[in-house]
Structures are given as C-alpha cells and as structure tokens.
C-alpha cells in the first residue's frame, strides 16, 4: 500500500503522519492516533457520529481522505477540553442529560461548536439545522437542543462568559 506524508494541525498541535493512500481521516484518528472520541458509525455520511471540525467547518471524517488534510486544521472532541476542564458544551450536555448512550455525543458537540463559533445567538431552528446531520437514537433531541441553547445563553451573559 502506498504511503503518503501528511502535515496538519490536530487539536492545536502540529502533526506529521504517513497514511495509507486512499484511507480515511476517521481511520487515521482511531487506528493510528488512538483518538477514539470520533465514532465510526455508518461510513456513509448519514449518521454524523464521525463529525470533526476542519478549518472551522463540520466535516464527516468517514468520507474525508486522510491525505486531503494536508495543511488543514482539525479539531476532534479530544481537543475541546482545556487543562482538564470540560468545554461548556461538554458540561451542558452532562448537566442537561443530553447524552445517553453517548455514541452521537462527540459529533453533536462538534456540530454545535461550529454553529456557536459562527453564530453565537442561534435560534432553536438554527440549532436543529446545525445538528440535523447527526442522528441520535436515545435522547429525542430535545435535551441536546436545550443544552446548546443554554450554552449560547451563557456565552451571551457577560458573567457566564467570564466563567
């Protein structure tokens, strides 16, 4: 199998890898880099479990060739917490019982992060659209939407923002 050198930024750290040509980013994250937060679901781009952030936009790592990540900035769920402290979205998902089996949770949180980074004051409909590519079979979506709304409200509140 042909190997290709790829340089990219992963969770704010520069990374160099030799990847099998034609292999996916999902495979690289889980099988080579032992980053298991990104879940392997449908491999068809339908379930959203493998969502990562590439250059600020949500991408499906199961459909992204690893070698196409050359020079790009990738964030997985492992890159969200800072010095052991959970990201506000992670905390809100825990506090609001927005995770049950947890399989969709990393993709949901990263999809939500992309939304809040671009639009800090989303409507409920905008949140529903932002997570529309991420399937959850446990929660009924309502706690997830409520958790994302609560983070948006907290981020708008100057006191909450400081916290």
């Amino acid at each position: 199998m042909t190997k290709v050198a790829v340089e990219f930024t992963l969770n704010a750290r520069e990374q160099n890898e030799f990847v099998e040509s034609g292999s996916t980013l999902l495979a690289m994250l889980r099988d080579r880099l032992d980053l298991y937060a990104t879940k392997a679901g449908c491999h068809q781009g339908t379930c959203g479990a493998c969502t990562v952030i590439i250059d600020g936009e949500p991408h499906l790592s199961c459909l992204t060739l690893a070698e196409r990540c050359e020079g790009r900035e990738i964030t997985t769920l492992e890159g969200l917490s800072l010095d052991g402290a959970l990201h506000p979205l992670q905390q809100a998902f825990m506090d609001g019982f927005a995770a049950q089996c947890g399989f969709c949770t990393p993709g949901m949180i990263l999809a939500a992060k992309c939304l809040l980074d671009r639009n800090p004051e989303p409507t409920r409909a905008e949140i529903a659209d932002a997570i529309s590519g991420n399937i959850c079979r446990c929660t009924g979506y309502e706690p997830i939407i409520a958790a994302i709304l609560s983070v948006a409200e907290r981020m708008r509140d100057p006191v909450g923002k400081r916290a």
């Binding site: 199998m1 034609g22 491999h43 781009g45 590439i54 949500p58 991408h59 459909l63 659209d129 991420n134």
Partner: protein, 267 residues
C-alpha cells in the same frame, strides 16, 4: 490509492487517469461513501482540490461556479442569494461543507437537488477532456453523465435570474434534512406581466432531474394567475417516471408534485 493533482495544468491528466479506471473524488460524499460500501478495485482516486476549481464568479449577469465549489460556500455567498434555499436543502452542515456542485451533477435520484436547480437555470457545463475544453448544455450533460468517463467538470455557468424569477421547493419527509420526495425549481421571467421563457425542472421524479415542458408551455405567455398555474399543475407529472424508494412511492410523488407546484407558484 489516490492521486492528488497539484496544479491547474494537471487537469489535463484527469481523463487519462479516468481511462485507467481512476475515479474522481470531489467532496467525497458520493465517491467515498460508495467505496466504503465494499472492497475497492485498487484504481486511483483523483482529487481535484488544488486545481482552482473552487471559485465563484458573478459578473455582468453571468454566474460561474467552479466544480469544486461547495454547498456551504454557495450558502455564504451574498451574490447567490437565490441559490441559498437550494444549497441549504442539501444534507446537514457537514455534508454541505463537503458536497460540491460538480459532484451533485452525478448524484442519483432522490438526491441531486442542485442539478435540478441548475437545469431550471439553463446552466452550461464546462468539461475538460485532456486536450480541449468544451461546453455542454446541462440537459444533455445529465442524459450523458455516466458515459462521460474521460472528462472532468471544470465549472457550470448560467445567467443570473431576474429578481424574484427563480423559485425552489423541496418536499421532504423529515425536516430539516432528508432526501427529496419531489424537488421543484422554476425560472419564471416575466415581460409586461406575462411569462416569457419559463423553465421548470423536477428532481426525484425520474432517474435524472427533468424538465416539465408541458407545464412550461401552459405557462408561456400567461399571467402568473391561479388559472394558468392550475393548468400547468395538471401537466407537471406527465413527463416523469418517479421511483418507489424508502422516502416515497411513485404514486405519492405523482400525487403531491402538482400540489407543491401550485403552492410554490401561488406563494
């Protein structure tokens, strides 16, 4: 394995690679999903990321979308406001960040909503065959698309529609994201209050996006009133051959297409 072409001049290599069984990967939402289904043939995957096919130009009333322009890029471009409902109706945000204009022209029914919109807009597809660049009207392209295995799409171009002349609706079973039950794109330019040059395209109503020519003829020269719209709605499914699939039966598609068409044009 994959082959990443690294400069615009290498576009000439694409047809030769295709001739050897190479497969173009644009956004990856179709090609990689397909490859993930089973063992790969070992042929090359051809990525076009660095060929400069990701530009949008809108000058002098003409819009050109590079083949690698994504749905997300269209949805952010203020010059393409009339296309925002189309781009935003395709997949969730992650799909929209990856799915490309060129790739969408190969999406099988009930997908390919941008193809339906581009058919209504009378787009022209620019193709490169390794030596020369040629243009093909989109209807001919859609008919021949699976035979065009020694060419790559460079861009699509169309005249910017007059304000309010382009309308779009996608009926789905689950909002906000689902494949199409029926997609309707209509270009209805008016001159002195009468419709002149109507183009109506339907998605998910046949193997490819198709024109509804009888409905177009019913609207031609008419005012956009209830009577003319009702007459066109009665003809909207006459040239279609929808499939039964997980999203809808062919019967259901034929039943609702006239209803949504009427609503779209009377809104």
């Amino acid at each position: 394995m994959s082959v990443t072409l690294t400069a615009a001049r290498q576009a000439r290599l694409v047809p030769a690679l295709q001739a050897k069984g190479g497969r173009i990967v644009a956004g990856g939402t179709l090609a990689i999903a397909d490859l993930n289904q089973g063992p790969t043939s070992g042929s090359a995957l051809i990525t076009l990321d660095r060929l400069g096919f990701d530009q949008v130009t809108a000058k002098g009333g003409k819009v050109t979308l590079g083949a690698m322009v994504t749905m997300a890029k269209i949805a952010r471009d203020r010059r393409l406001k009339f296309l925002h409902p189309v781009a935003n109706s395709i997949g969730g945000p992650a799909v929209r960040a990856m799915a490309t204009v060129g790739g969408n022209l190969f999406a099988p029914a009930p997908y390919g909503d941008m193809a339906a919109a581009l058919l209504a807009l009378d787009a022209e597809v620019t193709l490169h065959d390794g030596k020369t660049t040629r243009k093909l009207v989109i209807e001919a392209f859609l008919r021949q698309r699976h035979k065009l295995n020694k060419t790559c799409i460079v861009s699509v171009s169309f005249a910017s529609p007059p304000a309010g002349a382009f309308r779009y609706f996608k009926a789905v079973r689950r909002k906000p994201v689902s494949a199409s039950v029926v997609t309707i794109a209509a270009l209805l330019p008016r001159k002195a209050g009468k419709i002149k040059g109507a183009r109506i395209a339907l998605g998910a109503m046949a193997e490819n996006a198709v024109r509804a020519r009888k409905a177009e003829a019913a609207l031609e020269g008419a005012a956009l009133d209830h009577e003319a719209i009702a007459a066109a709605a009665n003809l909207i499914t006459t040239e279609t051959s929808p499939a039964d699939d997980a999203y809808a039966s062919a019967w259901y598609r034929r039943e609702i297409a006239p209803v949504y068409f009427f609503r779209l044009l009377t809104a």
